[in-house]
Amino acid sequence: MTFFDLGLVLASVICVAGLVWRVSKWCGRPVRNSAPFSPLKGMQAFVVDVLLLARTGRQSPLRWIGHTLIFVGFMGLLLFHALDDQITSNFFFGYESTLDPWQFLRNLFGLMVLVGLGIMTYRRVANKKLRELTRFQDWFAFLLVGGIILSGFFLEATKIMSPRVFDRMVYEYLVVEDGSDLTALKAVWADKYGVVFTERLPMNEETLARGMELDEESCMDCHSNTSSSFVSRTMATALTPIGPALNRSQATEVFWYLHLLLCFVGLAALPFGKFLHPLTTPANLIVRQGRRDGEGETPSVRKGLGLDACTRCGECSLHCSVAPAFSVMGNSDILPSEKLISFKKYQQGELFGDALTAFADGSRTCTECLRCTDICSAGINLQELWMEAKQAAQVQRVDMNMAVRQLTPKGRIQTFECSDCKPDIYGLADNKESYQGCVQCTTCTSVCPVVAVCEDASADLDLMPQQIMNLLRMGMKEEAMGARMVWSCTTCYKCQEHCPQNIRVADVLYELRNTAAVRMRKGNQ
């Protein structure tokens, strides 16, 4: 078995097994009442969203240019170069990989991919936020694709330079009548096509003319001038000084193995992480039929597809409405792109402990503003996922409000005992001066709509607003913090508006909730 066959079989087995494993995770309960699929709209989505990458373009023109270059270049290389035995030679009569336009196109496509990768790398490096969101697999994908293209270019360049390859071709295709003919052909190939021979060749007109004749007879049917492979030939020219060394060390062989190895790694990596997005993202875009809303319930297979369609482009997190909350609180699960990873883990039952708490908190911070769903260039129905995540969050980790209500009076004191734990903004509730003017006139309590709506206010709310002010004035913060009045405040500000002594009653209750949040988090650790 040759290296090629072995590599191809191994990579294919990994690829197929990985695909089966990945797709098997999509299955689940079927859902009725999902949006019907219209083939016409699906076709439209295929053309506009998949082929033209319209959703990417709408969000970021630079990214559109980069991605389009990679997409067109890579598909060109895949179809006409990698699959040339299957496609190009069957559809184009007289195909030879070393003839134009194929030789030229291969270089053009390769260069497009490299330029595209350059743009994408710039985008990830230049934007600080995006740089922080970029993970190993994002760089790995760039390196792998870039490696495939570069090794291909090096392979072609060293082939152009190699006298060994020249000798092999001569041996196979040329009947030499005498030694001077071979010299003449060598002279032409050194002069015009860039082969780097070790011996000195006569470069006179006569020899070159004879060489041209031989070239026309035996080579030109299968060889366009190497100058049309404009990238590789330029590289070969640049590498000429070290040409003999490259030739001696069989660089052609080395780059051939490297190029194939990287291609096989790429094939084997296809089912894993974002490497699958060239399959899942188009599929998801077609299934979504150009929709940008969060309507309808998605069947689980499509939901699985959607979860796997993420390209990790990070646009959602760059534009997230609650991204400022991430800047302050530092929980990366607030950001959609990161929350999606946790959501997947959660669905597969792989999320525990602090990671689960972070996921629940991040899910709750989401305001369901639809922006990430609207801009997602992979067309994922994120809105639906986040609404589901919120429900899951409440089951897995109750929010603070519920947690406080579940505490016993004794438990409250224990939970809130960390008196050094302070929220980022404090100083109102702690400060006795805040209540200096309080005359316990009970105005706050009498105007409070929450108190008014309760049948038995002291039983339902534990303490009345003016009692809370009184406790705080005496420094009994822990006792006040757990009172249901604090947590059932509807923030209508009537107490504060009506207070004859201008005490900031509602603001104080806000600060108590802030303080409790910090202390409970500390207590849970």
């Binding site: 409405s321 305001t367 980022d424 929450v450 059932s488 500000y493 504060q496």
Partner: protein, 285 residues
């Protein structure tokens, strides 16, 4: 008149009819809306982390200042929190420093001006009741409207400066300009209850019930809202009640821009009355 339009987070998915009707009304009365990419107003996270809340709010002012515009929002909670944040920045140098640092991380500077207006203020002061009266094609004659003020624009009055916090008249002026009759009702300045959704649903529902019943008792045909959350509470949350719940019979909630849009004869799709869950059947006039 040109403003940076701040729809807030809930409009795009949860209440698109408010967004479309606001845009239709603004276009009809000559208010140009520009749409910079704002972030959350910070109101929902204020319970947990006030710094995050204030930073979110101030970041929006910074974005508006970059666009060289003042902010207009149709949501009273967004309005209230942005106003609150501005007042905190003015009174607390230490906090302002912290927020400026956070802004700098995003390449933004602390704004010099903190100008935000609620839609009703623009309609009242810039457009004017007289203009609305002239433009009304279908006067809402005979429709009795209970104007629901919404807490966060009204209070704390010294910070929001929206109207007299104890005896506001702004909302009624606008509704009367449309030819409708406004009713006096006891609970018109009370809370809708939405802020307690998910935190204390029982009290939230009780606040809503009390309020809607009071509007009904005062003889109102509709409750007019001018806040995303209030409308969500009176319409969508009410619609989750059992089909035979008596509260469904109380006056339906209609957005102020839906009433204006209807009176001005604007595009029905944009006005979106058919999207309200508890329908208001406009009288044939």
């Amino acid at each position: 008149m040109k403003y940076a339009y701040f729809p807030g987070c809930k409009i795009p998915h949860h209440l698109p009819e408010y967004g479309s009707s606001v845009e239709a009304v603004c276009a009809a009365v000559g208010v140009e809306l520009v749409k910079p990419e704002f972030n959350c107003c910070g109101y929902p996270m204020r319970h947990e982390n006030e710094l995050a809340s204030i930073f979110s709010a101030v970041r929006n002012f910074a974005i508006a200042e970059q666009a060289g515009l003042e902010i207009m929002t149709p949501c009273k909670c967004c309005f209230g929190n942005l106003k609150y944040a501005a007042s905190r920045i003015a009174e607390d140098k230490h906090l302002a420093g912290k927020v400026a640092e956070l802004l700098a991380q995003d390449g933004l500077a602390m704004p010099k001006e903190f100008n935000i207006f609620h839609l009703l203020t623009i309609l009242d002061e810039q457009v004017g009741a007289d203009f609305l009266r002239e433009r009304t094609a279908t006067p809402l004659a005979g429709v009795k409207v209970a104007c629901h003020y919404g807490c966060h624009a009204l209070r704390p009055g010294n910070i929001t400066g929206f109207d007299d916090p104890l005896a506001p008249t702004l909302f009624e002026r606008i509704i009367q300009a449309l030819g409708a009759e406004t009713v006096e009702w006891d609970l018109r300045l009370e809370c809708c209850g939405y802020p307690l959704r998910g935190r204390d649903d029982i009290i939230s529902a009780a606040l809503m019930r009390k309020k809607l019943e009071d509007a009904g008792n005062a003889g109102a045909d509709v409750v007019a809202t001018a806040c995303t959350y209030c409308q969500l509470q009176f319409d969508q949350e009410r619609d989750l009640l059992p089909f035979n719940a008596p509260l469904r019979k109380e006056p339906p909630a209609v957005l102020v821009t839906q009433l204006i849009g209807f009176a001005l004869g604007l595009d029905e799709e944009a006005v979106g009355l058919h999207k309200n869950r508890i329908p208001w059947t406009a009288p044939v006039l």
